[in-house]
Amino acid sequence: MNAQIETVLKSKFGYDHFRPGQAQIIQGVLDQQNVLGILPTGSGKSLCYQLPTYIQGGLTVVVSPLISLMQDQVIQLNLQGEKRVISLNSTLNMVEQQAILSNLSHYLFLLIAPETLGRRDVLTRLQQIGVQLLVIDEAHCISQWGVDFRPSYLQLGTIRAKLRPKSTLMLTATATQRVQQDILEKLGVSATTQKVTFSVDRPNIFLDVLQCPDDQAKVAQLKELLPHLALPGIIYFGSRKKAQAMAQIIQQDLGISAAYYHGALATKDRYLIQQRFMAHQLQVICATNAFGMGINKKDIRFVIHYHLPTNFESYLQEIGRAGRDGQQSIAIGFNSPDDYQRQLALLHMGLPDDTMIKLFYQQPKKFANTGDTAFDLLWAYQQNGFDQQQVQKLLQHKLIEKQQELTAFNQFIQSQGCRRQLLLAHFGNELTHPHDEQCCYRGFDPKPLVRLKQIGLYVNQQPIADQQVLATQPRKWQQILRHILE
C-alpha cells in the first residue's frame, strides 16, 4: 500500500488503519480492475469508493436503489466536508436536473438511481465527461434470486457497457454464491472480476436477548436499562408511533436527550437529528428502520431492538451500527410472545397479492406512479418485460423465501446456544473464537445489568452535561442572531 493512500486515509477520513478488506478493494479499483466486495454493513463500504476517487480524480458514479440511501450518502460526504457531491433523482424537477447535468464536471461523486442513469440525456452527458469509477451499491438487487430484487437493476449491464468506466465496483453486504454469480453475469464482468469477501462477525458487539411477557414489560425493561447503559445508542421500533412515544418517555422520565426518527419526518428535521446525533447533542435515537443507512457515527455503544426485525440481514445491518470504533458495544433484542404475529404481518407488506397482480396486468398504464410500493414494484417488473405468470411465480417464491428467513431468524432469537455461531453460520462464516463470556448470552438473559457490568458498559449515573444543550437553544430573535452570527 503506497504512502499516498495512507495519507488520504488520515487526512480525509481520520483513520490510521484500514479495516479488513478495505485495502484490497481500494488497490483493485486503483489498478482499474473490477471488484465485487462482499462486506458487512459497518465495515466501511463507502470508504472503498470514496478514497480511490480522491486519489485518481475524475467522476465516480454511485448507483443506489433508494433515494433515502442516496441522501444519506450525500449527508455523510457533506459532514466530511465534501461539497462536490450531488444526487440526481426523481425528486428534482427537469430544470434542476438539466442544471446538474450541465455542471456535472465540477463534481466528484454522482449518486443516481438505475432508472435515471438509463436515460438517454444522462448517458450522453456521462459519456462526454467520462466515468472513472462505476459503483453498484446494494449490488444483490440485480439478482432475481435475492429478496431485494429490483427489476430496474437489470438494465445496469447495458448501461455499464455504454458508459465504459475505467473500473466497476460492486458492493453488497450479503450475497449467497448463487447471487454472487448472478451479479457478475448480469453486469457482464465475470471473467475479470476480483472477489473480496469478509466475515460478517463483529466480535466487539455482545449479543443479548431479553424475554418480555408483553409491551408493558418492554417499557419497564427499557426504563431499567437506559439509566445504566453507556451512551450513545439507537433503539429500533417496528412502528413510528411507538418510536415517537418512547422518545418522549426517555427524554421526560429519564432525562436523557432523545429524538425519534422515521421516514415521515421533514427533510430538515432528519438532517438536524443526524447532525445533533453526530455532535453528541442527542444521546438516544428512537428510530424505525428508515434510520441510519448512511450514518457514519463511530462511537455508538448500543443498539436495542424494541421490536426485532424479520430476518438476519436486517438484524446484522442494524446491530452493525454499534461499535464502529472497535470498542466494546452491545446489541440487545427484546422478545415477546406477541411479536411473531407482527413479524408475519410485515412479510406481506409491500408485496402485491394475486388480485393486485391480475388487476395490474389488465391495464398496467393505469398504475404507473401510484406511489404505492406494491404497484410500483409491479410496474418495474412489467417495464422490464416480465409477464403476469412470471411475476406471480417470482412473488410466491419471494414470500416463501421470506417465511423461511423468518423461521430461521426466530430460531436464532429463541436459541439456548451460542447466538453468534448461528448468526455467522447463516452467512456461511465460522466462529473464529470459541464462545465465552464476551460473546453472547445463551438463552434469554434474566439479568442484563449484570451483563453490562461484565462487559464494561455499565454506568452508575448518566452524565448530565450536554443533555441540556438543546433545551437552552435561544428563542428570541436577538439572541438567535447573536448565537449563530457572532
Binding site: Q71, I75, N78, L79, Q80, G81, I86, T91, L92, V95, E96, A99, I100, N103, A259, L265, A266, T267, K268, D269, Y271, L272, I273, Q274, Q275, A279, Q281, Q473, P474, R475, K476, W477, Q478, I480, L481, R482, H483, I484, L485, E486
Partner: protein, 327 residues
C-alpha cells in the same frame, strides 16, 4: 393540512371548494381569481404551492364528517355551519393573517424563504470556521444561487456583522412574536429547531407558520426594493425584480394602459393583434385586481348585450368592488 387551515377560507356563503384549492396552489384563471376575490382569499394565492388535491380533499371530508361545513345548492359548493363557525372562533389563535404578503406578487415565496435561510446558514457556519455541515435545503438551484452569492460577498469586511445588521433592520420592523418565530426557523452553527419543536411552542397551525414566514419575506423584499443601500448583502441575494412581480400579468397590463389612454376594446385588440376574447380576459383581470378600475368608461364603449358572459362577470366584479370588506 389541519382543519382550521381549510375552515378559515369558508364562510356562511356557499363556495366552490376547488377554487380554494386552485387559489392556494396558484392556478391563475379568471374564475379562480373571481372566487378568491369574492371570498376574500386573494392574498393567499400561491401560498401553498405543494398542496396536493388528495390532501386537500381528505381535509374537506374531515370537515364534512365533523359537520363543520355543509353542501350548498350549487354542485361542489360548501358553507360553514354554526358548528364550523364556533370551531373557527375557538381556533382563532391558530390563524395568522398576513400584513405584507400578496401571493400574486410573490409566486415563489417558499423558495425565497429557503434561499434566505440557506444563505444565513452558510454565513453562520463560515463565521464559525465550520466546513462539515449539511445544507438546510436539498434544492439544487437554490444551493447554486447561494454558492454564487457567497463568492460575491465573502470578502465583504465584517461579513457576519453586516448580515446581523441587515437582519436586525428587517426583524425589528416585525411584531416581536413574528420576528422570533421567523428566527427560530433559521439554521446555523449549533442551532436549529425541528419542526415538532417549533410546533410545540406556537398556537399557530402548520399553514399559518408558513404564512408568518411568507409575510416576513414580503416585508424584506419591500425593504430591499426601497432602501437597497441599507442591504448590501441581502440585496444581492434576493434581487427584488426576480422575486416580486406586478399583480397584473405583463400582457394584461399593456391592455390596461391602452384602455386608460382611451382606446376601445376593439381598437386594442386590432392594434395588439389579439383576439377580442383575450382582450376581454385582460379587462376582467384588471377589473378584479386593480382597485381604481373605471367601470363607467368600460360600459360607455362596450356594445355587447347585457346577457353576455363578459358583461355578467363585469357586473359581478363591480358589485363586489362596491362593498369591499377587509378579511
Amino acid at each position: 393540512m389541519e382543519a382550521i387551515d381549510l375552515i378559515r377560507f369558508f364562510s356562511d356563503q356557499p363556495q366552490r371548494y376547488k377554487a380554494i384549492y386552485y387559489g392556494l396552489v396558484g392556478k391563475k384563471t379568471i374564475s379562480n381569481l373571481l372566487a378568491a376575490k369574492k371570498n376574500n382569499y386573494l392574498v393567499y394565492f400561491h401560498s401553498w404551492p405543494r398542496l396536493s388535491l388528495t390532501t386537500f380533499q381528505k381535509c374537506l371530508q374531515g370537515l364534512l364528517r365533523a359537520d363543520f361545513v355543509a353542501a350548498g345548492e350549487v354542485a361542489d359548493s360548501f358553507y360553514l355551519t354554526a358548528a364550523g363557525q364556533h370551531y373557527r372562533q375557538a381556533q382563532q389563535p391558530a390563524i395568522f393573517i398576513p400584513s405584507y404578503y400578496q401571493g400574486l406578487c410573490i409566486p415563489q415565496g417558499q423558495q425565497g424563504i429557503e434561499l434566505l435561510y440557506l444563505a444565513i446558514q452558510v454565513i453562520s457556519e463560515y463565521h464559525h470556521g465550520q466546513k462539515h455541515y449539511i445544507p438546510g435545503t436539498t434544492n439544487y438551484l437554490l444551493q447554486q444561487r447561494v454558492r454564487q452569492w457567497f463568492q460575491q460577498v465573502k470578502h465583504y469586511p465584517q461579513l457576519s456583522q453586516q448580515l446581523v445588521q441587515e437582519l436586525t433592520r428587517w426583524l425589528t420592523a416585525l411584531p416581536a412574536d413574528q420576528a422570533d418565530f421567523v428566527a427560530q426557523n433559521f439554521q446555523g452553527y449549533q442551532f436549529g429547531f425541528q419542526q415538532s419543536e417549533l410546533a410545540d411552542k406556537t398556537p399557530l397551525s402548520g399553514y399559518s407558520q408558513q404564512l408568518v414566514q411568507l409575510d416576513a419575506l414580503a416585508l424584506l423584499l419591500q425593504y430591499l426594493a426601497q432602501q437597497p443601500q441599507a442591504f448590501p448583502l441581502l440585496g444581492q441575494l434576493l434581487i427584488p425584480d426576480q422575486w416580486v412581480q406586478p399583480i397584473l400579468s405583463y400582457s394584461a397590463n399593456l391592455t390596461y394602459q391602452a384602455f386608460m389612454a382611451g382606446q376601445s376594446l376593439k381598437q386594442i385588440g386590432y392594434k395588439r393583434r389579439l383576439k377580442d376574447s383575450t382582450i376581454r380576459e385582460h379587462i376582467l383581470e384588471v377589473a378584479l385586481l386593480m382597485p381604481g378600475f373605471d367601470f363607467e368608461q368600460l360600459k360607455q364603449q362596450d356594445d355587447l348585450p347585457p346577457t353576455d358572459y363578459f358583461n355578467i362577470r363585469v357586473a359581478e366584479i363591480q358589485e363586489m368592488s362596491g362593498h369591499e370588506r377587509p378579511n
